[in-house]
Amino acid sequence: MAFDDNDNKLWLSGNEAIALGAWEAGVQVASGYPGTPSTEIMGNLVRYEGVYGEWAPNEKVGLEVAIGASFAGVRAFATMKHVGVNVAADPLFTASYTGGRGGLVVLTADDPQMHSSQNEQDNRNYAFAAKLPMLEPSDPAEAKAMMRTAFELSERFDCPVLFRTTTRIAHVKGVVEKGERVATKPASVEKMPAKFVMLPGNARMRRAEIEKRMAAARELAETLPENRVEQGSGRRGFICAGTSYNYVKEAFPEAPVLKLGMVWPLPEGMIRDFAATVDELIVVEELDPFLETHIKAMGIDCHGKDLIPSQGELNSFIVRKAVEPDSVGELFAPLDLPMRPPNMCAGCPHRGIFYNLSKMKDVFVSGDIGCYTLGFLPPLSAMDSCVCMGASVTVAHGMSKALGEDGMGKVVAVLGDSTFMHSGMTGLLNAVYNESNATVIILDNRTTAMTGHQNNPASGKNIKGEPAHAVNLEKLCEAIGVPRVRVVNPHEINKTKKVLKEEIASPDPSVVISRAPCVLLPEMVKAKKPVYFTNLENCSGCMACVRLGCPAISWHPLTPEQAEERGYTKKQKGYAEITEVQCNGCGQCAELCKFEAISTREEN
C-alpha cells in the first residue's frame, strides 16, 4: 500500500512536511515555543536522527538559541506562532545585522481568522521591517521543498530567512515526496567580532551590508524558481502567494497567475513584465495589502483590497465573489442554532479556581492565555482582561497602582505554569520590587495544555518526555521576594476559597499556586479516578453543581407536573445529572452539593 513509512510518497501535514524539510536541509539545532499553528513542527523534528531540538520557555529564548547554533557554524531553526515573533523581535532585528555562519531560518505561523489566537497580525510586515527575505509555501509539498531553499538563501545572503505559514498550510495534509538529508558540517568556534558584536561602530558597518544583500536578494528574486508565471488565457491576471494561490487556481483556473514563493524582497522586473501582459491585475492576499502596497509603490496599477477582504481567511468562493460578484449562486442561509464554544474539560483543575473567583464579584480578574482563558465563558464568567502572554501579572500591578488604596483586595492575576515561565516571572519581579498589593494565582497543571500538552521547565520532562529538572515554583517565587506563597489543591473548593480570600485581602504581594495536573495528561488518563453520579432522588434542583459549567453535568428542566411525577415537589424547576462516561472524578461538584445527591459508586 502506498503512503506507508517505506514509501517515498508520504501523506503529511504542512507541519510534518516542514519538520522533514528542515531535517533534509541538514538542521542540527532547533528551538521553539509552542503556539498554534506552529507547534507540531518541533514535536516531529526531534524524532529525526542528528537533530537537537528543545522547547524554550519563550520565543526570544528560542530564537537566541538558534542564533547561537548558527554562530557555531551549523544550520539552525526557530519555530513560533505569529505573536511569538513579537516576543522574539528584539534578537530578530539585530540578527538581521549580524547574520551568522550556519543557515538560520525563523518560522512564523500566522493565524488569519484567529482560530486559536488573540490577534491576526500579518507577519509579512516583519520581513519588510527587519529587512529579511521571506518565503511562503502554498501547500505541504512546497513547504518541504522550500525549507531547503530557505537555508540556502540564509547562507548565501548571510542573514536569517523568515518562513511564513498560515493555518491552511500548517494544518493541511497533502502528498509529499521524501528526499535525502544534505551533508552537514561540524560545528566550530570562529571569532568574528566585527560581525557578531553589535556595538554602534560595528553595527554601522553591518547596516551597509544589509543594503547590499537585499539588493542581491531582489536580483535573485527575478530568477528564483519559487517565483513563477503560470500562463493562461484572458486579459485578467492574478498575483498571489501562500494559500491564496490555491484559491485563485480554483476560482479562475484559466487565468494567468504570477505566483510568488518569495514574498520579500519582490521581483520588480517580473511583476512589471507580468503586469504588461494583462489588462487587469488583481493581487489576492489574506490580511494586509502587503504585496499590493509594494506593487503600487513600483508605480504599477492593480486591484487588491478594493475587492478582496482584509479580515479573516479567504477561500475560492470569497475570491470568485469578490472578482465576479454575479458568478456565484445563492447559498442556503445558516440556521439559528445554539452555539458550541469550547469549554474546559470535565475535571479540569482550573475550574475550581474560576468557580471561586466567579463568587468574588468585586474582584477584577486580570487573565492570561491558556486553557484557563475559557474561564471567561459563562457560567463562570470570571475573567475581566486578557491581552498577551504574561500580561496578567503586569496589568494587575498597573491597575493596583492606578487604584492605590482603593485597589486593595480588588485585583488578582491568573496565569498558567507555562505562561509564568514564558513571561510572567519578570512581571512578578516587578510587582515585588515596586510593592504591588495584587495577588497572583499560578495555575500549575504541570503542562502547556492549550497547545497540546508540551512539557515546560516546570514539568520535570523535556521535549522528548525524558526526565529533566523541574523548577520549584514556590522557591522561585520566594527568591523573587514574594513574602506570601501558598499552595492549594483547586479541586478542594472550600479550602481554596479560604486561602484566596486571605491572600486577596493581604496588603503584601502574594502568590497562590493552584496545583493539580491536567486531566488529559497520559498519566492522569491511565490512573482514571472513580467517577461521580447523581442520586436523582436527592437532587433538590438548586443548580449549585450546574454553576461549575462542567461539561459532564446537564440540567433537565421540569414542568410542575413532570416534577411531581418524578417524586419532587411541584416547585422544583428541574434536576441536574452527571453523564458518568464524561466525568473525570475531580469531586468539585460533590463538594458543592448540600443534599448528598452526588457521590461515587464506592461511597454509595
Partner: protein, 194 residues
C-alpha cells in the same frame, strides 16, 4: 465514478473526527486521487464544534470546501449537521449520527436543544441518512468505534470499494483495535441500504 468531490466532517471535539477523515483520505489516495485535507487544532478541540474538510480529484489546489459545494457531509452530532447547512447544495448527501451532545447553553438550562432540526435539511431536498453509530459501536463491543461506523455508512456514497477501507484500517489502526474497527465499518456500511 466521480472524478472529484468534497467531503465535510463535522462534530464535537473528542468524537474522533480526525481518524474518520484520515481513513477516508487514505482510501481516496488508494483509489488514485490527489487529496487535500484541512483541520483546525488548538482552542477548537476543547469540546467545541470541529470540522475537517476533505477534497479529492485529479489535482486539488484548495484545502477548503467552499460554501454550497459539500457533496457529502458526515456529521457526528445532530446540531453539528444542521450548523453546516450553508455548505450544502440540493444534491448533497448527509450522513448523521443521531447522538445529541448538549451545547453549554442547553446544558445550563438557558436554551433548548432544537427538535426535529434535521427536517430543515430534508425540507430543502437534501438527502439525509440518520444512523445510530453509537449503537453500532456498542454492538461490536467498543464504544470508540462509532467514528468508524460513520465512515462505513458514508462509504456507500463513494466509488471506492469497501475492501479499500478495510485495507486502510489494517494499515493504519493499532493491531488491538483492527478487528473491532473493521466490524464497525461493515456494520455502519450495512445500515444505509438494508
Amino acid at each position: 465514478m466521480r472524478q472529484s468531490g468534497n467531503i465535510l466532517f463535522s462534530g464535537v471535539g473528542g468524537q474522533g473526527i480526525l481518524l474518520a477523515s484520515e481513513l477516508t483520505a487514505y482510501a481516496q489516495l488508494e483509489a488514485g486521487f490527489d487529496v487535500k485535507k484541512s483541520e483546525v487544532h488548538g482552542m477548537a478541540q476543547r469540546g467545541g464544534s470541529v470540522e475537517a474538510h476533505l477534497r479529492y480529484g485529479e489535482r486539488v489546489y484548495s484545502p477548503l470546501i467552499d460554501p454550497g459545494t459539500a457533496d457529502i457531509l458526515v456529521a457526528f452530532e445532530i446540531l453539528e449537521a444542521a450548523r453546516y447547512l450553508p455548505y450544502l447544495h440540493k444534491d448533497s448527501a448527509v450522513v448523521v449520527n443521531t447522538q445529541k451532545i448538549l451545547p453549554p447553553a442547553v446544558a445550563l438550562g438557558k436554551m433548548e436543544y432544537p427538535d426535529n432540526i434535521l427536517d430543515e435539511l430534508t425540507d430543502r431536498g437534501i438527502k439525509v441518512v440518520a444512523i445510530d453509530a453509537f449503537a453500532v459501536a456498542k454492538e461490536v463491543g467498543e464504544l470508540r468505534t462509532a467514528n468508524v461506523a460513520m465512515v462505513g455508512a458514508m462509504s456507500n456514497f463513494l466509488a471506492a470499494s469497501p475492501q479499500v477501507f478495510l485495507d486502510v484500517i489494517d494499515k493504519k489502526v493499532k493491531p488491538a483495535f483492527r478487528e473491532v474497527n473493521k466490524q464497525a465499518f461493515e456494520a455502519g456500511r450495512k445500515l444505509v441500504y438494508n
